[in-house]
Structures are given as structure tokens and as C-alpha cells.
């Protein structure tokens, strides 16, 4: 029997019940969210289950929603079932004051650097990560650049000719 989104949704609701919410299917990919405390349980369930078999971690990334107070930072996992060719997206939300999320490095070695990148850009602290330090930015940077409140350009420049940029 082919693995359809309906079936996956059903299995997830059977196992986790009320904790999983936000089922959507944008452009054919099943998306759901869960509280951050059970993210490892969900990932383990998706990995170990004999029918679901989501054993390939495609990507981990973060998103910043400054409007959702209490849930500003999201960690998005993309998983892939290679045998049945099914992809799934799993989101975990956390607030900006205590951005702690359990690390997935025990399950997927690929999560190591992906979580470091998410930490570098958004400041999400992955609890239990073996080496959580900045990976792409300079080590001395003290802010998390991809959050919406920070600008793109380097603010310390004095040589920009405002007239050339239409601001003069």
C-alpha cells in the first residue's frame, strides 16, 4: 500500500494524539508541528517505525516570526523516506527568551552542522549538541544576524556615498 499523506497523518495522530497540530499540505508536502519537548520522540518515531521509515534528514533550518509572541523562532526539519519517495516537514516552535530545543545529532549525524548553522543565524540553543558554536560567522559576533530586527548591511561603514544610492 502506498504511503499517502493521509496515512502518515493518521499514524501520527494515533501515536501522539493532541500534541501534534497544524496539519497542512502546501504543494503536496505534509507539514505539521509539535511542541519542542517531544521533537526527539517524533523524530524517533518517524525513524523507527517499520512503515513510515523517514530515515534521511534532508535539512534543518530556522525561521524567525517576530509577530508570534512566545513562539518567535521555528526549527523546521525536512525528512525524506527514500524507499517510498515521500517527504515530510516538521516544525517546532520556541520562544525567543528561552530558545532551547533538543538536538537531533544522536539520531542523524547530518544534524550536527545544520544545527550549528541554525544556532549561528537565529540563536536557537540545541541542548545536548556536542559542539555548539558559530560556524559561518566570525566567532566574536554577538548577535544573531538572520533575525528580522537586524539589518543586512554592515552599519559601521563610513565610505558609502549616499548620493549614489539615492539617499543623499
Amino acid at each position: 500500500m502506498a504511503l499517502t499523506n493521509e496515512h502518515i497523518k493518521q499514524r501520527l495522530i494515533e501515536k501522539f494524539g493532541e500534541q501534534i497540530s497544524g496539519f497542512e499540505e502546501p504543494y503536496g508536502m505534509l507539514t505539521f508541528e509539535a511542541p519542542k519537548e517531544i521533537n526527539l520522540k517524533v523524530l524517533n518515531f518517524l525513524y523507527d517505525d517499520a512503515e513510515l521509515k523517514f530515515r534521511f534528514l534532508t535539512d534543518i533550518t530556522g525561521v524567525h516570526y517576530p509577530d508570534k509572541t512566545g513562539n518567535e523562532l521555528a526549527v523546521v526539519y525536512h525528512l525524506h523516506n527514500l524507499e517510498d519517495n515521500v517527504r515530510i516537514r516538521f516544525k517546532v516552535f520556541t520562544g525567543v527568551s528561552t530558545p532551547d530545543v533538543y538536538t537531533a545529532t544522536g539520531l542523524f549525524s547530518a544534524a550536527n552542522w545544520m544545527e550549528r548553522e541554525t544556532y549561528d543565524f537565529f540563536g536557537i540553543n540545541f541542548v545536548g549538541h556536542p559542539n555548539l558554536k558559530r560556524i559561518l560567522n566570525v566567532d566574536e559576533m554577538d548577535y544573531f544576524p538572520l533575525r528580522k530586527e537586524f539589518p543586512l548591511e554592515d552599519q559601521t561603514r563610513i565610505d558609502k556615498d549616499d548620493e549614489m544610492f539615492g539617499r543623499g
Binding site: 543586512l152 554592515d154 565610505d159
Partner: protein, 194 residues
């Protein structure tokens, strides 16, 4: 507010499919040729520049194409590209230099022995390029003094060769005592280099 535009008006006519380099001025006779020392040294240096390709990104691939047989850079004397700064004359910085990489560029520049020249290849090395962001150094002239800038994203191999030819002009006409002058020392001081 218009900036002055300059065109390349220097034309050298081609004679018999071979272009001969000009001889420096001097006195010559039976078996000898007398000229000033800096002209001879300049001529020797400019036709045997050993570059250090500091290739970081896309411009590095265009450099690889320039070193290939189609647009050969070796015919200008740069056959031996070295990767040790101690043995090279020309630091060709090709590609984006991020703020994390800035100290490394400076370190490599410091290890080079005088006389040394710097060629900034590409828009990113000249001025930060299309990346006006918090993590990109807006031009390597923030950390090291640059002699020639080659714009382009990436510059065509012909443009990189043009940049090398302009470096050759600078090398050929340079005063032998330039590296000891106060003006040059002041330039290095402004970058924090002793």
C-alpha cells in the same frame, strides 16, 4: 555629478604578426648597451612576475581558465604560480573576502617580500561586489594596499590579462628606491603594517 570617463587610446601597430617590446633608452655600441639600472631591472621584473593566486570563489575559476591554454597567462612570464608568499611577487586576490578571511589576507601579504604588488580581481575583491552584507569585507583595500583593480563579475580572462599587463606597466616603471621612501612607509602605516 558626472565622473570623467577614459578610453583606452594606446594603440601599438602590429608589424609582421609579431609585436616587439620596446627597448629602453640608452647608449649602445659594439657589444654593449648602457642604460639606467631601474629600466633594466624594470624590464626584467615585469616579464617574470610570479603570481600568488589567492583564489577564493568564482573569480578563481576564471583564473583557472586564464591559466589554461586558451587564454594563456604563462606567455606573460607568469608560468610558475606559487603558493608560498615568500616566493611570490604579485598577490592576485580573486573572489569575495569575508571578514573572517580578512586577517588571513593580511597575514599572507605580510609574509611577502618587497617588492610586492597586489591585484584585486573581480568586483568582490575591489569593493565588496554585489554582497553589501554584514559579513563581507567591502574591498580588500580595507586591509592591504592594492595596486590594480580589475572589475567584473567575474572579469573575462581577457580582463584579468589586462590587469596583469597594467601591473607589468607599474612594475616596469617603478623607481628602485620606492619601497624605502617616506610616502610608501606612510601608506603602509595607514594600514597598520610596519
Amino acid at each position: 555629478m558626472s565622473r570623467p570617463v577614459s578610453y583606452n587610446l594606446i594603440q601599438k601597430p602590429l608589424v609582421d604578426d609579431i609585436s616587439m617590446a620596446e627597448m629602453p633608452e640608452g647608449h649602445q655600441g659594439e657589444g654593449f648597451f648602457a642604460t639606467s639600472l631601474d629600466k633594466v631591472i624594470g624590464l626584467a621584473r615585469k616579464n617574470s612576475i610570479w603570481p600568488l593566486p589567492f583564489a577564493t570563489s568564482c573569480c578563481g575559476i576564471e583564473f583557472m581558465a586564464t591559466m589554461g591554454s586558451h587564454y594563456d597567462l604563462a606567455r606573460f612570464g607568469s608560468e610558475r604560480v606559487g603558493f608560498s608568499p615568500r616566493q611570490c611577487d604579485l598577490l592576485m586576490v580573486m573572489g569575495t573576502i569575508a571578514k573572517k578571511m580578512g586577517p588571513v589576507v593580511k597575514q599572507v601579504y605580510l609574509q611577502m617580500a618587497e617588492p610586492r604588488w597586489v591585484l584585486a580581481v573581480g568586483a568582490c575583491a575591489s569593493s565588496g561586489g554585489i554582497f553589501d552584507t554584514y559579513s563581507v569585507l567591502q574591498g580588500i583595500d580595507q586591509v592591504i594596499p592594492v595596486d590594480v583593480y580589475v572589475p567584473g563579475c567575474p572579469p573575462r580572462p581577457e580582463a584579468i590579462i589586462d590587469g596583469v599587463i597594467r601591473i607589468q606597466d607599474l612594475v616596469g616603471k617603478e623607481n628602485l628606491r620606492r619601497r624605502n621612501t617616506d610616502q610608501y612607509k606612510a601608506l603602509l602605516e595607514s594600514y597598520g603594517i610596519q
